[in-house]
Symmetry: C2
């Protein structure tokens, strides 16, 4: 154990943030940290947009489902997967690269690259005593978000990150048992073992909510997941991504 | 600046690792750190497989393109996107969740979740004085890799991570200019500015390789990217992912 691992393990999403703006130096340290993450074949397939304009922040908060912390924070980052840059690189080198850019493989690389960078940003922010919250709600209405941020084709806002001084600390939600997430040499496929582990986890989650809400909430993990999946959220994504010339072949 | 940000900024991929095995405690700290990362709607859509069997490691190294560091390291992790777990959750709750599981949106969530966890693992390992290298080559032959790791449908090995005590330190490759990655309020779309920034970066990269190789290598970033894209690697991915019942709608 060391200070860095302690910081990683102490992570929790902070949804109430002060509106005290981050300094330019803080923002640059966070972005530089993001950029220092590993990147597949040096591709650096992302761009980061910081939102400071209050009207834009308000509109983005609406589009992301009226979450107050999209509007009220120290800084709001939007992490975008970006293959537009490689299209420009192609035109600089006079080479046809569209087959590759339109592939599912490169779409995956773009998503992975962006997330690796974002997680470094999250850790950098937390190391500065700031709280963070990822905002998947940015994907609720991507046509409108793209217009708001003036992003070109093949730049996809993937998620936001609200960063700021914590106003209220939250509890850390228990994760799946390590033995369920971590396998040795091959994937453990025994369905009975699998269900038993999830059953135990359900009990732990249920206890967690019961204690926190003094018995008012009695959720399980599988119950939450099924509720979320039944919602069938963002089913427009398949067509949206295709329209951007990605994930086509 | 602080110790954590210093560690993030000091990152470089280490391709020569000692074969001294990691301890169980080190492995568990790394996995627990991975699990502490943010996760979309609590979905935790990944599994991690640690490879210790020498035959399996050798075979995986072959499949990943004969990279020596897949075989020689302190520990080898395979990070898998995992929506199989949610299918099991569905059967535990007797609910139909297939529409959601087959959506491009959930495919994206799975990729992002896995990458966030992996980057925490990378940082935890580096904080312990270990070096890491991500291995995208795991995606070269996914049918064979899935068979080797006995993964069920909807579990996709996305990348490996070789971890171990560094045998040789490498240089840190310069990243794209911060002003090119980071935008304020909207995406900077002026193509001339864009190309000029990439041109400057090309010069920097060229200087970097020249100095390192005493003039033997004179690469640019756009040149490297175009070479990589022209290779049209892993074009089978689109069908492979579909076959796994993901990214379908």
């Amino acid at each position: 154990m060391n200070q860095i691992i302690e910081t990683l393990l102490a992570h929790r999403s902070i949804r109430r943030l002060q509106d005290k703006p981050l300094t330019k130096e803080q923002i640059e340290l966070i972005v530089a940290s993001a950029q220092a993450a590993s990147t597949s074949s040096y591709i650096q397939a992302y761009s980061i947009i910081g939102i400071t304009d209050p009207d834009k922040k308000r509109r983005l908060a609406e589009l992301a489902g009226n979450q107050s912390y999209v509007e009220k924070n120290g800084h709001f980052f939007v992490f975008c997967g970006d293959l537009h840059r490689l299209e420009i690189a192609g035109s600089m080198e006079n080479k046809e690269v569209m087959d590759s850019l339109e592939s599912t493989e490169k779409f995956m690389v773009m998503l992975i690259d962006t997330a690796l960078a974002a997680q470094n940003a999250a850790i950098a922010a937390e190391s500065l005593g700031l709280g963070i919250c990822y905002i998947g709600g940015v994907r609720n209405h991507l046509d409108e978000v793209c217009e708001l941020l003036n992003t070109p084709k093949r730049v996809i806002p993937l998620f936001g990150m609200a960063v700021g001084y914590p106003e209220q600390l939250t509890d850390k939600k228990p994760r799946l048992p390590l033995a369920h997430i971590y396998h040795e040499n091959e994937y453990e496929q025994d369905e009975e073992v699998y269900k038993q582990q999830l059953g135990e986890y359900n009990k732990e989650i249920s206890r967690y909510y019961n204690e926190r809400t003094k018995g008012k909430r009695d959720d399980t993990w599988t119950g939450q997941m099924i509720g979320m999946l039944s919602g069938k959220s963002r089913m427009y994504m398949h067509e949206f991504i295709k329209k951007h010339g990605l994930n086509l072949k």
